[in-house]
Protein backbone atom coordinates (compact mmCIF):
# COMPACT_ATOMS: atom_id res chain seq x y z
CA UNK A 1 0.00 0.00 0.00
CA UNK A 2 1.10 3.52 -0.75
CA UNK A 3 2.37 5.59 2.11
CA UNK A 4 -0.36 7.71 3.61
CA UNK A 5 -3.18 5.45 2.48
CA UNK A 6 -5.29 3.94 5.19
CA UNK A 7 -4.49 0.34 5.74
CA UNK A 8 -6.62 -1.50 8.22
CA UNK A 9 -4.15 -4.42 8.13
CA UNK A 10 -1.49 -2.14 9.49
CA UNK A 11 0.91 -4.36 11.44
CA UNK A 12 1.09 -1.87 14.26
CA UNK A 13 -2.66 -1.95 14.62
CA UNK A 14 -2.72 -5.75 14.66
CA UNK A 15 0.01 -5.87 17.25
CA UNK A 16 -1.89 -3.41 19.40
CA UNK A 17 -4.88 -5.74 19.23
CA UNK A 18 -2.69 -8.67 20.10
CA UNK A 19 -1.38 -6.84 23.15
CA UNK A 20 -4.95 -6.34 24.26
CA UNK A 21 -4.98 -2.56 23.86
CA UNK A 22 -8.58 -1.65 24.60
CA UNK A 23 -8.32 1.43 22.49
CA UNK A 24 -7.41 -0.56 19.37
CA UNK A 25 -10.08 -3.12 20.07
CA UNK A 26 -12.68 -0.41 20.52
CA UNK A 27 -11.64 1.14 17.21
CA UNK A 28 -12.02 -2.22 15.48
CA UNK A 29 -15.40 -2.72 17.09
CA UNK A 30 -16.69 0.70 16.18
CA UNK A 31 -15.48 0.42 12.61
CA UNK A 32 -16.90 -3.02 11.97
CA UNK A 33 -19.78 -3.83 14.28
CA UNK A 34 -22.79 -2.36 12.47
CA UNK A 35 -21.48 -3.43 9.07
CA UNK A 36 -21.03 -7.02 10.19
CA UNK A 37 -24.52 -6.99 11.70
CA UNK A 38 -25.90 -6.05 8.28
CA UNK A 39 -23.94 -8.87 6.66
CA UNK A 40 -25.17 -11.36 9.26
CA UNK A 41 -28.73 -10.22 8.63
CA UNK A 42 -28.17 -11.07 4.98
CA UNK A 43 -27.06 -14.58 5.84
CA UNK A 44 -29.60 -15.55 8.47
CA UNK A 45 -33.19 -16.61 8.20
CA UNK A 46 -33.96 -15.11 11.58
CA UNK A 47 -32.40 -11.68 11.42
CA UNK A 48 -32.93 -10.90 15.09
CA UNK A 49 -30.01 -13.26 15.83
CA UNK A 50 -27.62 -11.07 13.82
CA UNK A 51 -26.49 -8.84 16.68
CA UNK A 52 -25.76 -11.65 19.08
CA UNK A 53 -23.77 -13.45 16.41
CA UNK A 54 -21.58 -10.44 15.72
CA UNK A 55 -21.14 -9.87 19.45
CA UNK A 56 -19.88 -13.44 19.60
CA UNK A 57 -17.42 -12.67 16.82
CA UNK A 58 -15.91 -9.85 18.85
CA UNK A 59 -16.07 -11.83 22.05
CA UNK A 60 -14.03 -14.57 20.37
CA UNK A 61 -11.52 -12.07 19.06
CA UNK A 62 -11.15 -10.52 22.50
CA UNK A 63 -10.76 -13.91 24.14
CA UNK A 64 -8.25 -15.15 21.57
CA UNK A 65 -6.41 -11.90 21.08
CA UNK A 66 -3.04 -13.58 21.66
CA UNK A 67 -3.45 -15.48 18.40
CA UNK A 68 -4.11 -12.34 16.38
CA UNK A 69 -0.42 -12.20 15.54
CA UNK A 70 -1.01 -14.89 12.93
CA UNK A 71 -3.74 -12.92 11.21
CA UNK A 72 -2.56 -11.08 8.13
CA UNK A 73 -5.87 -9.71 6.92
CA UNK A 74 -8.15 -8.55 9.69
CA UNK A 75 -10.96 -7.67 7.28
CA UNK A 76 -10.99 -11.19 5.86
CA UNK A 77 -10.73 -12.62 9.37
CA UNK A 78 -13.75 -10.72 10.70
CA UNK A 79 -15.81 -11.38 7.60
CA UNK A 80 -15.05 -15.12 7.53
CA UNK A 81 -15.73 -15.50 11.22
CA UNK A 82 -19.10 -13.78 10.89
CA UNK A 83 -19.97 -15.96 7.95
CA UNK A 84 -18.99 -19.16 9.76
CA UNK A 85 -20.98 -18.32 12.85
CA UNK A 86 -23.98 -17.56 10.64
CA UNK A 87 -23.58 -20.93 8.96
CA UNK A 88 -23.50 -22.63 12.35
CA UNK A 89 -26.66 -20.79 13.26
CA UNK A 90 -28.38 -21.87 10.03
CA UNK A 91 -27.46 -25.51 10.71
CA UNK A 92 -28.66 -25.24 14.26
CA UNK A 93 -31.97 -23.74 13.15
CA UNK A 94 -32.38 -26.41 10.51
CA UNK A 95 -32.27 -29.19 13.06
CA UNK A 96 -34.76 -27.37 15.26
CA UNK A 97 -37.18 -26.44 12.49
CA UNK A 98 -36.95 -29.39 10.18
CA UNK A 99 -40.36 -30.85 10.77
CA UNK A 100 -42.41 -27.90 11.73
CA UNK A 101 -42.22 -25.03 9.36
CA UNK A 102 -42.69 -25.41 5.64
CA UNK A 103 -42.13 -21.83 4.62
CA UNK A 104 -38.91 -21.89 6.63
CA UNK A 105 -37.52 -24.73 4.53
CA UNK A 106 -37.48 -22.88 1.22
CA UNK A 107 -36.08 -19.75 2.82
CA UNK A 108 -33.28 -21.60 4.56
CA UNK A 109 -32.47 -23.56 1.41
CA UNK A 110 -31.93 -20.26 -0.41
CA UNK A 111 -29.90 -18.82 2.45
CA UNK A 112 -27.66 -21.90 2.46
CA UNK A 113 -26.93 -21.45 -1.20
CA UNK A 114 -26.35 -17.74 -0.72
CA UNK A 115 -23.84 -18.21 2.08
CA UNK A 116 -21.91 -20.64 -0.13
CA UNK A 117 -21.99 -18.44 -3.22
CA UNK A 118 -18.41 -17.39 -3.88
CA UNK A 119 -19.11 -14.41 -6.10
CA UNK A 120 -21.43 -12.92 -3.47
CA UNK A 121 -18.87 -13.57 -0.70
CA UNK A 122 -16.11 -11.91 -2.62
CA UNK A 123 -18.24 -8.88 -3.37
CA UNK A 124 -19.29 -8.52 0.28
CA UNK A 125 -15.80 -8.93 1.67
CA UNK A 126 -14.35 -6.36 -0.74
CA UNK A 127 -17.18 -3.90 -0.19
CA UNK A 128 -16.71 -4.23 3.55
CA UNK A 129 -13.03 -3.33 3.37
CA UNK A 130 -13.70 -0.52 0.91
CA UNK A 131 -16.34 1.02 3.13
CA UNK A 132 -14.14 0.83 6.23
CA UNK A 133 -11.27 2.54 4.45
CA UNK A 134 -13.55 5.14 2.93
CA UNK A 135 -15.12 5.96 6.28
CA UNK A 136 -11.67 6.80 7.62
CA UNK A 137 -10.52 8.51 4.45
CA UNK A 138 -13.56 10.78 4.43
CA UNK A 139 -12.37 12.56 7.54
CA UNK A 140 -10.69 15.92 6.92
CA UNK A 141 -6.93 15.63 6.46
CA UNK A 142 -5.87 16.72 9.95
CA UNK A 143 -8.45 14.64 11.80
CA UNK A 144 -7.57 11.67 9.64
CA UNK A 145 -3.84 11.85 10.32
CA UNK A 146 -4.34 12.27 14.01
CA UNK A 147 -6.94 9.55 14.12
CA UNK A 148 -4.64 7.17 12.29
CA UNK A 149 -1.64 7.97 14.44
CA UNK A 150 -3.53 7.82 17.68
CA UNK A 151 -5.98 5.00 16.97
CA UNK A 152 -4.43 2.75 14.37
CA UNK A 153 -0.78 3.22 15.26
CA UNK A 154 -1.30 3.70 18.96
CA UNK A 155 0.92 6.75 19.32
CA UNK A 156 0.68 8.82 22.48
CA UNK A 157 -0.34 12.45 22.21
CA UNK A 158 3.19 13.53 23.13
CA UNK A 159 4.66 11.30 20.41
CA UNK A 160 2.30 12.74 17.81
CA UNK A 161 3.27 16.21 18.98
CA UNK A 162 6.98 15.67 18.46
CA UNK A 163 6.43 13.82 15.18
CA UNK A 164 4.32 16.59 13.71
CA UNK A 165 6.37 19.35 15.28
CA UNK A 166 3.44 20.88 17.13
CA UNK A 167 2.81 21.50 20.80
CA UNK A 168 1.19 18.97 23.07
CA UNK A 169 -1.68 21.37 23.62
CA UNK A 170 -2.28 21.66 19.87
CA UNK A 171 -2.46 17.87 19.57
CA UNK A 172 -4.99 17.77 22.39
CA UNK A 173 -7.04 20.41 20.62
CA UNK A 174 -6.82 18.61 17.28
CA UNK A 175 -7.85 15.33 18.84
CA UNK A 176 -10.73 16.98 20.62
CA UNK A 177 -11.80 18.54 17.33
CA UNK A 178 -11.32 15.25 15.48
CA UNK A 179 -13.43 13.40 17.98
CA UNK A 180 -16.10 16.06 17.93
CA UNK A 181 -16.08 15.82 14.17
CA UNK A 182 -16.19 12.04 14.12
CA UNK A 183 -18.98 11.93 16.59
CA UNK A 184 -21.11 13.17 13.76
CA UNK A 185 -19.27 12.13 10.65
CA UNK A 186 -19.04 8.55 11.70
CA UNK A 187 -21.87 7.82 13.97
CA UNK A 188 -20.17 4.58 14.89
CA UNK A 189 -17.63 6.60 16.81
CA UNK A 190 -20.15 8.29 18.97
CA UNK A 191 -18.56 7.68 22.32
CA UNK A 192 -14.88 7.39 21.55
CA UNK A 193 -13.28 8.97 24.54
CA UNK A 194 -9.85 10.43 24.75
Amino acid sequence: MKKGRTNINNELFLSLLEKGEKCAFETLFRLYYTKLVQIAKGYLVYQQEAESIVQNVFLKIWENKESLGEVSNINNYLYTMTKNLCLDQLKHEKVKRKYIDNSYRLKSEIQYKFIHDEAASLLLENELEGKIIRSIELLPEKCKNIFKKSRLEGLKHSEIASQMGISHKTVDNHIAAALRHMRFHLREFISISQ
Partner: protein
Protein backbone atom coordinates in the same frame (compact mmCIF):
# COMPACT_ATOMS: atom_id res chain seq x y z
CA UNK B 1 -41.38 -6.23 -12.87
CA UNK B 2 -39.80 -9.15 -11.02
CA UNK B 3 -36.83 -7.00 -10.03
CA UNK B 4 -39.15 -4.85 -8.02
CA UNK B 5 -40.54 -7.86 -6.21
CA UNK B 6 -37.03 -9.05 -5.50
CA UNK B 7 -36.22 -5.74 -3.82
CA UNK B 8 -39.43 -5.95 -1.82
CA UNK B 9 -38.44 -9.47 -0.83
CA UNK B 10 -35.01 -8.28 0.26
CA UNK B 11 -36.42 -5.38 2.22
CA UNK B 12 -38.86 -7.76 3.88
CA UNK B 13 -41.90 -5.86 2.64
CA UNK B 14 -43.18 -8.50 0.22
CA UNK B 15 -46.53 -10.10 0.93
CA UNK B 16 -46.40 -13.84 1.59
CA UNK B 17 -47.73 -14.45 -1.90
CA UNK B 18 -44.99 -12.31 -3.47
CA UNK B 19 -42.45 -13.94 -1.21
CA UNK B 20 -43.39 -17.37 -2.45
CA UNK B 21 -43.30 -16.15 -6.03
CA UNK B 22 -39.78 -14.78 -5.64
CA UNK B 23 -38.55 -17.90 -3.86
CA UNK B 24 -39.95 -20.17 -6.54
CA UNK B 25 -38.28 -18.03 -9.18
CA UNK B 26 -34.92 -18.24 -7.37
CA UNK B 27 -34.90 -22.02 -7.01
CA UNK B 28 -36.29 -22.70 -10.48
CA UNK B 29 -32.86 -22.41 -12.16
CA UNK B 30 -29.19 -21.96 -11.34
CA UNK B 31 -29.12 -18.91 -13.50
CA UNK B 32 -31.90 -17.30 -11.48
CA UNK B 33 -30.15 -18.20 -8.22
CA UNK B 34 -26.93 -16.58 -9.45
CA UNK B 35 -28.80 -13.47 -10.47
CA UNK B 36 -30.56 -13.30 -7.12
CA UNK B 37 -27.34 -13.79 -5.14
CA UNK B 38 -25.73 -11.00 -7.09
CA UNK B 39 -28.63 -8.63 -6.41
CA UNK B 40 -28.72 -9.71 -2.79
CA UNK B 41 -24.97 -9.20 -2.26
CA UNK B 42 -25.25 -5.71 -3.74
CA UNK B 43 -28.26 -4.99 -1.57
CA UNK B 44 -26.47 -6.14 1.59
CA UNK B 45 -23.41 -4.09 0.60
CA UNK B 46 -25.61 -1.03 0.22
CA UNK B 47 -27.18 -1.53 3.66
CA UNK B 48 -23.81 -1.81 5.41
CA UNK B 49 -23.82 1.92 6.03
CA UNK B 50 -27.06 1.75 7.95
CA UNK B 51 -26.42 2.54 11.55
CA UNK B 52 -29.63 1.62 13.28
CA UNK B 53 -27.83 -0.51 15.76
CA UNK B 54 -27.09 1.01 19.11
CA UNK B 55 -23.57 -0.23 19.65
CA UNK B 56 -22.59 1.12 23.03
CA UNK B 57 -24.45 -1.39 25.21
CA UNK B 58 -23.14 -4.25 23.06
CA UNK B 59 -19.57 -3.02 23.25
CA UNK B 60 -19.56 -2.66 26.99
CA UNK B 61 -21.17 -6.06 27.25
CA UNK B 62 -18.11 -7.56 25.58
CA UNK B 63 -15.20 -5.88 27.30
CA UNK B 64 -16.94 -5.40 30.65
CA UNK B 65 -15.91 -1.83 30.91
CA UNK B 66 -16.21 -1.05 34.58
CA UNK B 67 -16.38 2.68 34.22
CA UNK B 68 -19.15 2.55 31.69
CA UNK B 69 -22.47 3.66 32.99
CA UNK B 70 -25.31 1.49 31.86
CA UNK B 71 -27.53 3.51 29.64
CA UNK B 72 -31.05 2.81 28.70
CA UNK B 73 -31.57 2.63 25.01
CA UNK B 74 -34.12 5.18 23.99
CA UNK B 75 -34.53 3.62 20.60
CA UNK B 76 -38.12 3.42 19.52
CA UNK B 77 -38.93 0.42 17.32
CA UNK B 78 -39.18 1.49 13.72
CA UNK B 79 -42.52 -0.20 13.30
CA UNK B 80 -44.05 2.03 15.94
CA UNK B 81 -42.64 5.12 14.26
CA UNK B 82 -43.95 3.88 10.95
CA UNK B 83 -47.42 3.34 12.36
CA UNK B 84 -47.28 6.79 13.87
CA UNK B 85 -46.31 8.24 10.51
CA UNK B 86 -49.12 6.41 8.76
CA UNK B 87 -51.54 7.59 11.40
CA UNK B 88 -50.32 11.14 10.94
CA UNK B 89 -50.85 10.87 7.20
CA UNK B 90 -54.33 9.44 7.71
CA UNK B 91 -55.24 12.21 10.10
CA UNK B 92 -53.84 14.71 7.61
CA UNK B 93 -55.83 13.21 4.78
CA UNK B 94 -58.89 13.26 6.98
CA UNK B 95 -58.59 17.00 7.28
CA UNK B 96 -58.07 17.46 3.57
CA UNK B 97 -61.05 15.24 2.92
CA UNK B 98 -63.24 17.13 5.35
CA UNK B 99 -62.14 20.45 3.95
CA UNK B 100 -62.84 19.33 0.40
CA UNK B 101 -66.30 18.12 1.30
CA UNK B 102 -67.15 21.26 3.22
CA UNK B 103 -65.82 23.50 0.50
CA UNK B 104 -67.22 21.49 -2.36
CA UNK B 105 -69.58 24.24 -3.38
CA UNK B 106 -66.70 26.64 -3.90
CA UNK B 107 -63.82 26.41 -6.37
CA UNK B 108 -61.66 23.46 -5.29
CA UNK B 109 -58.45 24.58 -3.65
CA UNK B 110 -55.47 22.36 -4.27
CA UNK B 111 -53.54 21.81 -1.07
CA UNK B 112 -49.85 22.71 -1.42
CA UNK B 113 -48.79 19.28 -0.27
CA UNK B 114 -50.83 17.27 -2.77
CA UNK B 115 -49.58 15.03 -5.56
CA UNK B 116 -50.93 16.53 -8.75
CA UNK B 117 -51.61 15.09 -12.16
CA UNK B 118 -52.03 17.53 -15.00
CA UNK B 119 -53.83 16.16 -18.05
CA UNK B 120 -53.32 17.09 -21.69
CA UNK B 121 -56.26 19.51 -21.64
CA UNK B 122 -54.83 21.33 -18.64
CA UNK B 123 -57.24 19.83 -16.12
CA UNK B 124 -55.70 19.11 -12.74
CA UNK B 125 -56.39 16.09 -10.58
CA UNK B 126 -55.25 15.54 -7.03
CA UNK B 127 -53.85 12.06 -6.41
CA UNK B 128 -54.43 11.05 -2.82
CA UNK B 129 -52.04 8.48 -1.38
CA UNK B 130 -53.75 5.13 -1.17
CA UNK B 131 -56.56 6.34 -3.43
CA UNK B 132 -57.73 4.74 -6.66
CA UNK B 133 -57.63 7.51 -9.24
CA UNK B 134 -58.27 6.72 -12.90
CA UNK B 135 -56.77 8.56 -15.85
CA UNK B 136 -59.14 8.94 -18.79
CA UNK B 137 -58.60 10.41 -22.22
CA UNK B 138 -60.96 12.90 -23.86
CA UNK B 139 -63.18 10.06 -25.09
CA UNK B 140 -63.43 8.51 -21.65
CA UNK B 141 -61.09 5.58 -22.36
CA UNK B 142 -59.04 4.43 -19.40
CA UNK B 143 -55.36 5.24 -19.92
CA UNK B 144 -54.10 4.42 -16.49
CA UNK B 145 -55.05 3.74 -12.92
CA UNK B 146 -53.63 4.28 -9.48
CA UNK B 147 -52.53 1.20 -7.55
CA UNK B 148 -51.56 2.31 -4.06
CA UNK B 149 -48.60 4.63 -4.31
CA UNK B 150 -48.15 3.97 -8.00
CA UNK B 151 -49.78 5.30 -11.14
CA UNK B 152 -49.87 2.63 -13.85
CA UNK B 153 -50.36 3.37 -17.55
CA UNK B 154 -51.56 0.58 -19.80
CA UNK B 155 -50.19 -0.15 -23.21
CA UNK B 156 -53.42 -0.39 -25.15
CA UNK B 157 -51.66 -0.66 -28.48
CA UNK B 158 -53.55 2.13 -30.18
CA UNK B 159 -52.00 3.43 -33.36
CA UNK B 160 -52.41 7.09 -32.49
CA UNK B 161 -50.31 9.51 -34.48
CA UNK B 162 -50.10 12.20 -31.87
CA UNK B 163 -48.37 12.21 -28.52
CA UNK B 164 -50.57 13.04 -25.56
CA UNK B 165 -48.78 14.19 -22.42
CA UNK B 166 -49.56 14.01 -18.72
CA UNK B 167 -47.48 15.70 -16.02
CA UNK B 168 -47.13 14.28 -12.53
CA UNK B 169 -45.93 16.62 -9.79
CA UNK B 170 -44.83 15.36 -6.37
CA UNK B 171 -44.61 17.99 -3.59
CA UNK B 172 -41.95 18.34 -0.89
CA UNK B 173 -42.02 15.59 1.69
CA UNK B 174 -43.53 12.95 -0.64
CA UNK B 175 -42.48 10.42 -3.26
CA UNK B 176 -44.49 8.56 -5.89
CA UNK B 177 -44.11 5.71 -8.40
CA UNK B 178 -45.08 5.70 -12.02
CA UNK B 179 -45.27 2.84 -14.50
CA UNK B 180 -45.22 4.14 -18.06
CA UNK B 181 -47.01 2.41 -20.91
CA UNK B 182 -43.79 0.84 -22.21
CA UNK B 183 -43.12 -0.82 -18.84
CA UNK B 184 -40.55 1.74 -17.67
CA UNK B 185 -40.64 2.23 -13.93
CA UNK B 186 -40.03 5.71 -12.53
CA UNK B 187 -39.85 6.78 -8.88
CA UNK B 188 -40.21 10.51 -8.38
CA UNK B 189 -38.47 12.14 -5.45
CA UNK B 190 -39.88 15.07 -3.46
CA UNK B 191 -40.34 18.34 -5.31
CA UNK B 192 -40.22 16.73 -8.73
CA UNK B 193 -42.30 16.84 -11.85
CA UNK B 194 -42.21 14.56 -14.87
CA UNK B 195 -43.94 15.13 -18.19
CA UNK B 196 -44.48 11.94 -20.20
CA UNK B 197 -46.63 10.64 -23.07
CA UNK B 198 -49.54 8.52 -21.90
CA UNK B 199 -48.71 6.25 -24.81
CA UNK B 200 -45.41 6.06 -26.68
CA UNK B 201 -45.50 6.02 -30.46
CA UNK B 202 -44.09 3.18 -32.47
CA UNK B 203 -40.81 3.91 -34.21
CA UNK B 204 -40.34 7.11 -32.25
CA UNK B 205 -37.93 7.91 -29.44
CA UNK B 206 -39.45 7.52 -26.04
CA UNK B 207 -38.96 10.99 -24.60
CA UNK B 208 -39.89 12.38 -21.17
CA UNK B 209 -39.14 15.69 -19.43
CA UNK B 210 -37.80 15.83 -15.90
CA UNK B 211 -37.65 18.65 -13.41
CA UNK B 212 -36.22 17.38 -10.12
CA UNK B 213 -34.97 13.92 -9.20
CA UNK B 214 -36.13 10.48 -10.31
CA UNK B 215 -34.96 6.90 -10.47
CA UNK B 216 -35.57 5.24 -13.84
CA UNK B 217 -35.73 1.55 -14.55
CA UNK B 218 -36.13 1.69 -18.30
CA UNK B 219 -37.83 -1.15 -20.17
CA UNK B 220 -35.53 -2.61 -22.81
CA UNK B 221 -36.27 -1.61 -26.39
CA UNK B 222 -33.22 -1.59 -28.62
CA UNK B 223 -35.11 0.11 -31.45
CA UNK B 224 -36.63 3.05 -29.62
CA UNK B 225 -34.21 4.80 -27.26
CA UNK B 226 -35.56 6.30 -24.07
CA UNK B 227 -34.53 9.94 -23.63
CA UNK B 228 -34.86 12.02 -20.50
CA UNK B 229 -34.72 15.70 -21.25
CA UNK B 230 -33.67 17.90 -18.36
CA UNK B 231 -32.10 21.27 -17.81
CA UNK B 232 -29.97 21.68 -20.97
CA UNK B 233 -29.17 17.99 -20.94
CA UNK B 234 -30.40 14.84 -22.61
CA UNK B 235 -29.86 11.39 -21.18
CA UNK B 236 -30.32 8.65 -23.75
CA UNK B 237 -30.65 4.95 -22.90
CA UNK B 238 -31.91 1.73 -24.40
CA UNK B 239 -32.77 -0.20 -21.28
CA UNK B 240 -31.11 0.40 -17.94
CA UNK B 241 -31.34 1.64 -14.38
CA UNK B 242 -30.17 5.07 -13.39
CA UNK B 243 -30.81 7.97 -11.06
CA UNK B 244 -31.12 11.47 -12.45
CA UNK B 245 -31.08 14.49 -10.19
CA UNK B 246 -31.76 17.82 -11.82
CA UNK B 247 -33.35 20.28 -9.43
CA UNK B 248 -33.48 23.78 -10.89
CA UNK B 249 -31.86 25.27 -7.76
CA UNK B 250 -28.86 22.88 -7.85
CA UNK B 251 -25.70 23.88 -9.66
CA UNK B 252 -25.16 20.43 -11.14
CA UNK B 253 -27.19 17.72 -12.81
CA UNK B 254 -26.16 14.27 -11.61
CA UNK B 255 -26.73 11.08 -13.58
CA UNK B 256 -25.77 7.94 -11.67
CA UNK B 257 -25.80 4.62 -13.46
CA UNK B 258 -26.56 1.27 -11.84
CA UNK B 259 -26.92 -1.04 -14.82
CA UNK B 260 -26.52 -0.97 -18.58
CA UNK B 261 -25.19 2.15 -20.22
CA UNK B 262 -26.37 5.71 -20.83
CA UNK B 263 -25.24 8.54 -23.09
CA UNK B 264 -25.37 12.14 -22.01
CA UNK B 265 -25.33 15.03 -24.43
CA UNK B 266 -26.24 18.67 -24.78
CA UNK B 267 -29.93 19.32 -25.26
CA UNK B 268 -29.31 21.44 -28.36
CA UNK B 269 -27.38 18.71 -30.12
CA UNK B 270 -28.91 15.80 -31.93
CA UNK B 271 -27.60 12.52 -30.64
CA UNK B 272 -24.38 11.27 -32.15
CA UNK B 273 -21.98 8.93 -30.38
CA UNK B 274 -19.19 11.47 -30.95
CA UNK B 275 -20.80 14.33 -29.02
CA UNK B 276 -22.13 12.22 -26.14
CA UNK B 277 -20.46 11.04 -22.95
CA UNK B 278 -20.96 7.36 -22.33
CA UNK B 279 -21.37 6.24 -18.74
CA UNK B 280 -20.52 2.84 -17.29
CA UNK B 281 -22.30 1.20 -14.35
CA UNK B 282 -21.08 2.45 -10.98
CA UNK B 283 -20.15 5.83 -12.42
CA UNK B 284 -21.87 9.17 -12.38
CA UNK B 285 -21.81 12.11 -14.73
CA UNK B 286 -21.96 15.52 -13.14
CA UNK B 287 -23.05 18.27 -15.50
CA UNK B 288 -22.19 21.74 -14.30
CA UNK B 289 -24.85 24.17 -15.51
CA UNK B 290 -22.60 27.19 -15.25
CA UNK B 291 -19.38 26.14 -16.94
CA UNK B 292 -21.24 23.54 -19.03
CA UNK B 293 -18.70 20.83 -18.32
CA UNK B 294 -19.30 17.15 -17.72
CA UNK B 295 -17.30 15.41 -15.03
CA UNK B 296 -17.43 11.61 -15.04
CA UNK B 297 -16.32 9.82 -11.89
CA UNK B 298 -16.92 6.72 -9.84
CA UNK B 299 -20.06 7.13 -7.78
CA UNK B 300 -21.19 6.20 -4.35
CA UNK B 301 -24.39 4.52 -5.53
CA UNK B 302 -26.00 4.37 -2.09
CA UNK B 303 -25.64 8.11 -1.65
CA UNK B 304 -27.52 8.77 -4.87
CA UNK B 305 -30.26 6.17 -4.54
CA UNK B 306 -31.01 5.84 -0.85
CA UNK B 307 -33.76 8.41 -1.14
CA UNK B 308 -35.72 5.51 -2.66
CA UNK B 309 -35.78 3.99 0.81
CA UNK B 310 -36.72 7.30 2.38
CA UNK B 311 -33.20 8.12 3.51
CA UNK B 312 -30.91 11.08 3.19
CA UNK B 313 -27.23 10.21 2.91
CA UNK B 314 -24.71 13.01 3.09
CA UNK B 315 -21.01 12.51 2.50
CA UNK B 316 -18.89 15.56 2.80
CA UNK B 317 -21.65 17.85 1.62
CA UNK B 318 -21.51 21.60 2.31
CA UNK B 319 -24.32 22.82 4.54
CA UNK B 320 -25.72 25.12 1.84
CA UNK B 321 -26.50 22.04 -0.30
CA UNK B 322 -27.95 20.13 2.64
CA UNK B 323 -30.51 22.87 3.28
CA UNK B 324 -32.34 22.20 0.02
CA UNK B 325 -32.30 18.43 0.57
CA UNK B 326 -33.80 18.82 4.02
CA UNK B 327 -36.41 21.28 2.77
CA UNK B 328 -37.53 18.83 0.12
CA UNK B 329 -37.41 15.75 2.31
CA UNK B 330 -39.18 17.24 5.31
CA UNK B 331 -41.28 19.84 3.56
CA UNK B 332 -39.90 22.67 5.69
CA UNK B 333 -38.46 26.12 5.05
CA UNK B 334 -34.93 26.77 6.28
CA UNK B 335 -33.49 30.26 6.57
CA UNK B 336 -29.78 30.38 7.28
CA UNK B 337 -28.43 33.73 8.47
CA UNK B 338 -25.00 32.32 9.26
CA UNK B 339 -22.92 32.47 6.04
CA UNK B 340 -19.95 30.75 7.72
CA UNK B 341 -22.04 27.62 8.17
CA UNK B 342 -22.77 27.40 4.43
CA UNK B 343 -19.34 26.02 3.59
CA UNK B 344 -19.07 23.60 6.54
CA UNK B 345 -18.92 19.98 5.37
CA UNK B 346 -21.08 17.32 6.96
CA UNK B 347 -21.40 13.55 6.68
CA UNK B 348 -24.47 11.84 8.05
CA UNK B 349 -27.39 9.65 7.22
CA UNK B 350 -30.96 10.16 8.27
CA UNK B 351 -34.09 8.14 7.75
CA UNK B 352 -36.69 7.96 10.47
CA UNK B 353 -35.45 11.01 12.34
CA UNK B 354 -37.73 13.99 12.68
CA UNK B 355 -36.47 17.39 11.59
CA UNK B 356 -35.98 18.28 15.28
CA UNK B 357 -33.71 15.26 15.75
CA UNK B 358 -31.81 16.14 12.59
CA UNK B 359 -31.05 19.62 13.87
CA UNK B 360 -30.12 18.30 17.30
CA UNK B 361 -27.58 16.04 15.59
CA UNK B 362 -26.14 18.91 13.57
CA UNK B 363 -25.89 20.89 16.76
CA UNK B 364 -23.68 18.20 18.30
CA UNK B 365 -20.93 18.89 15.80
CA UNK B 366 -21.39 22.48 14.96
CA UNK B 367 -23.08 24.57 17.54
CA UNK B 368 -25.70 26.57 15.79
CA UNK B 369 -28.29 28.91 17.09
CA UNK B 370 -31.58 27.81 15.59
CA UNK B 371 -35.29 28.10 16.19
CA UNK B 372 -37.82 25.62 14.86
CA UNK B 373 -41.19 27.20 14.43
CA UNK B 374 -43.69 24.77 12.95
CA UNK B 375 -42.43 24.29 9.37
CA UNK B 376 -39.92 27.09 9.45
CA UNK B 377 -36.39 26.85 10.79
CA UNK B 378 -34.26 29.91 11.32
CA UNK B 379 -30.51 29.67 11.93
CA UNK B 380 -28.75 32.74 13.30
Amino acid sequence: MLDQKVYKYLRGTATSKEEKEVQDWIVSSDQNSKRFFEIKAEYVAATMDDTHVDIDPSYHGIVNDNNSTSRNSRRIPITILKSAAILAILVGLGFIFRDTILDSHTVPIIPGDAIILQLENGNIEVISEGGAAKVLDSEGNVLGAQQGSQLVYKNNGTSKEELIYNTLTVPYGKRFDLLLSDGTQVTLNSGTSLKYPVQFLKRKNRQVFLDGEAFFSVAKDSVNPFIVNTNQLNVRVLGTKFNLSSYPEDQVVNTTLLEGSVSIYNEQDTYDSSNASLLEPGFKAEWNKYNRQILVEEADIAMHTDWLNGKIILRHVPFKNIVKKLERHYNVKIVNNNPKLDEELFTASFDIETIDQVFKTFNHTYEMDYIINDRKIIIN
